[in-house]
Symmetry: D3
């Protein structure tokens, strides 16, 4: 299936992390599209030109908007939009700043963790515990 059919918005200002995430998502079959700030990413989303499937965002970003705020704005547009946060320092704020049904990846994290997180949120059903 064509890669450009699963565009994921990536908001990350550190080049090293951006490359890592882009490579990981591309290899898994997604199409990451990077923005260095939350403001630009929101503009992209709202333009409606591309039908993005998920948001992967760092918390501490360039621009005035944090990843926490970015995700809230995205959810105002689409209440079920998949949200994945990445952070090193701000992980303990998820319980107060995260949106419901989001995933947080605490740095450092393995490529597999990111891929599993995005996949889970994109799948319909995604069942829970079973015995």
């Amino acid at each position: 299936m064509a890669l450009d059919e699963l565009p994921i918005i990536l908001v990350e200002d550190e080049a090293v992390i951006q490359d890592f995430v882009e490579d990981t998502l591309t290899e898994a079959g997604f199409h990451p599209m990077a923005s260095p700030t939350g403001e630009e990413a929101l503009t992209l989303l709202q333009s409606g030109v591309v039908r993005y499937r998920a948001l992967v965002t760092d918390i501490n970003l360039n621009g005035g908007m944090s990843g926490w705020e970015m995700a809230r704005r995205v959810r105002e547009i689409d209440p079920s939009f998949p949200v994945i946060y990445m952070t090193g320092a701000a992980a303990d704020q998820w319980a107060s700043q995260g949106v419901p049904n989001s995933i947080l990846l605490e740095k450092p994290f393995a490529p597999a963790q990111l891929v599993t997180a995005v996949s889970q949120l994109l799948n319909t059903g995604n069942p829970s515990p079973s015995m």
Copy 2:
């Protein structure tokens, strides 16, 4: 078991709703303690005098703080504090304004819904689907 051992902070400015919630929680075996504003409720929580077990809050409140903001402040103090929102008009904002692992009761709701919500959040484990 003594009722005053399960104090629940209740933030509600409409007298009718406050009575309804107090009666419901009391009958279920909890001990609701009402504050008309988020600011006062936070002060109570932070005082540490009473070990509250959960927060039940309306969204549109007296005072400058909404229920959304109230819950975030509470979670900054205790990341696992049980949070239950009640709202009529603001229900569709939960996906962007709610905290993770919270419950929202959309007005009108039955007493049983409130009791089930508080009970689920207080129980450890609280399993998921099974087949």
Copy 3:
């Protein structure tokens, strides 16, 4: 809050069970509205006159339509409509005939089980396991 604001469609052809369910739901703060067949219940739903909040249905019903089929039709109209099945004999068919995210109550069941089931499905969030 007014009882008639939480109408629940009840599809049950045995008078004893119907009374039991009606009493249980009413006492919990819901407003059960009974139909003896799936066909009539669907007509009620589709009329749009009342904004029903959930379906509680037996499996073996009067009329040609089983509870399994009834629930599928309801979900075609509203994909997120809360569905609760009640059955004695057909319980083991849920894994093949039930709709996703539904609850099945195996007879005999306690009033509390029915109330908890309806409450869970009506609450937004309804979190899962925690440690």
Copy 4:
């Protein structure tokens, strides 16, 4: 539906707690049957005379067997048997001593918490979060 059709094994050696739990479960429509020790409760279960539906057990018990051990033995007999623990002092041991998909009620707990816990574990499906 007849009360004796939903027998719940209750293992509790403190008379006050036993009365509280028996009253709560009976009022909710269950039929609690009390044993003062885990050993006796296991004998009852294994006799097969009564088809018990769930176990509600304290942790610190008369007899040599703790509630933790009791629950393991029960799960050896029936891997999906609903298990609810009650404890004041041993709550923090659940993560190492509890069985999967069990619920722990930390004393003091409200009657509603116990009823919700038993109901959830008896219902098939018992869905998880929704947005």
Copy 5:
């Protein structure tokens, strides 16, 4: 571990999709075995010659049986059989036609989504949210 120990039934009539799914599952360590129709797949399952571990099926299939019906028949044989649907056009029917605890992958989907879905359903426990 030997690849032929994790046989997965694959029901897909489009050659391109079949190749994509076979390659993806094989690379992940599974052993996909393809049938072009639901009828043939059911015959394979019922023969008992191979102990299949999961079903991955398209919805619109050759033969009279849709993927929805296929999955129901499989669940009649084994109520806990893992079910993964793939579809482009029929995704919105999952809420009325899907079986409980199944996963639906909406085309286009990434290989990682399919692998995560199958893995989740095969793992015992597969926990839910945590804070």
Copy 6:
């Protein structure tokens, strides 16, 4: 991100399985550190020299301690420590011997199952079903 930042304790006494698991985890971006017995693994954990992120353990092990017991000891140290069991013969004991919120992989299992399991347990949030 540096591989040695995600150390996973691996307790496995069969060389073939140990190699398989080490290769799988390494390729996924984790850093497996193998111990042949539960006793040695516990000593490593308790030393605090390395901040391990998860436990992957077989059930039948060298030394007196089984994987079941190993996991309980780990959870006494850290109640939220991610636990993944691997077993061929002892899978049906998970319901009585497993710890809450753990995952069991029944041999034979695909590499993808192991990677998904570890990733799920390391991610914060890790949401449940959605419709």
